[in-house]
Amino acid sequence: MSTATAKAIEGLKARAADEGLLDVAYTTTDSPFGPLLLAKTRRGLVRVGLPNQDSDELLVDLAERVSPRVLETPNELDEARRELDLYFEGKLDSFDLPLDWRLSGGFRQKVLRAINRIPYGQTRSYTEMARKAGNERAVRAAGTACGSNPIPLVVPCHRVLRTGGAFGGYAGGLPMKEALLQLEGVLDESPAS
């Protein structure tokens, strides 16, 4: 692509943002675990894609479920990227980002909102999350809600463990969950799983 085209595209994206045509803004950013996809709407952060998830598929999904007006606009995600960088450095224990919950409905959203209130460095069980969301017996559904969390890391589903302390699952893979809990000081260097 020529530099003239690249410059025209940059200007186009700024104008799209000014005119309110930027329904989904996204970027990719580096993390200690690999590249993350960050996507936001005018309401807030709507999707975080983990390194083992296919970014292209996530973007197609956003186009279908939110709006096809999806554009790569890194500067729109500056604040999210800044807070995540600090989090990975162990210098931030609470995200201050507006969130867009629209990709999760009903019970799942209730579970995720409960997860979002688990403080840094603490863990809860799937059972507790089911209870907080209003149905103590829906433990399996609470687990599914964790597994389908569209905004992992920021909504800290890695802080949810099985009753008794077993790891359960993680969309980004169990080594990542383990590393995040180590970062937050929950686990020592040789955890039992």
């Binding site: 692509m1 020529s2 003239a4 085209t5 410059k7 025209a8 595209i9 200007g11 186009l12 104008r15 799209a16 005119e19 045509l21 989904v24 996204y26 973007l59 197609v60 956003l62 186009a63 279908e64 709006s67 096809p68 007006r69 999806v70 554009l71 790569e72």
Partner: protein, 155 residues
């Protein structure tokens, strides 16, 4: 209907072709603004687009209208593809033979545009038609006449 792809994909796939056509249609100075007007109009209409099978033709049609708007605003008629050599270079093509491009540059505007779009941007007849705002048949005829003339010039 299948879901529309993310607009970023549309931009990635077609930005170069749209820019090349606008470069030719309105020149270097007007191209950036026409390019942005084209994609802003496309972005506005995109969620309601019924058929995503010919996104390039759709974009080129919009680009053509924006080029006409541009020329109207300046009070002169559109001159499609005024600088074919530049068009080819911006598209990452191998350096064209000077004599050939000089001959292309000497063709009447519509023939010149048809030849440049076919061999510079590799567009099918239907998309050349969309870019020129004429029928597919007229695009085919312009291309044919242009090539005939080139053969005679360069023989």
């Amino acid at each position: 209907m299948t879901a529309l792809p993310p607009f970023q994909t549309v931009l990635d796939d077609h930005a170069t072709a749209v820019m090349a056509i606008l470069h030719g249609a309105v020149g270097r100075d007007g191209a950036e603004d026409c390019f942005q007007e084209t994609f802003l109009a496309a972005l506005r209409a995109y969620p309601k687009l019924k058929d995503d099978r010919n996104l390039r033709g759709w974009l080129l049609t919009i680009a053509h209208r924006k080029a006409i708007d541009h020329h109207r605003a300046r009070g002169r008629a559109p001159v499609p593809v005024a600088e074919p050599a530049e068009l080819a270079a911006s598209d990452g093509m191998p350096e064209p033979d000077d004599g050939l491009w000089a001959a292309v540059g000497a063709l009447p505007p519509k023939q010149r545009a048809a030849v440049a779009l076919r061999y510079g941007s590799d567009l099918p007849h239907s998309e050349i038609a969309a870019a020129l705002g004429c029928s597919t048949e007229a695009a085919r005829r312009n291309l044919h006449e242009g090539l005939k003339r080139l053969r005679k010039e360069l023989a």
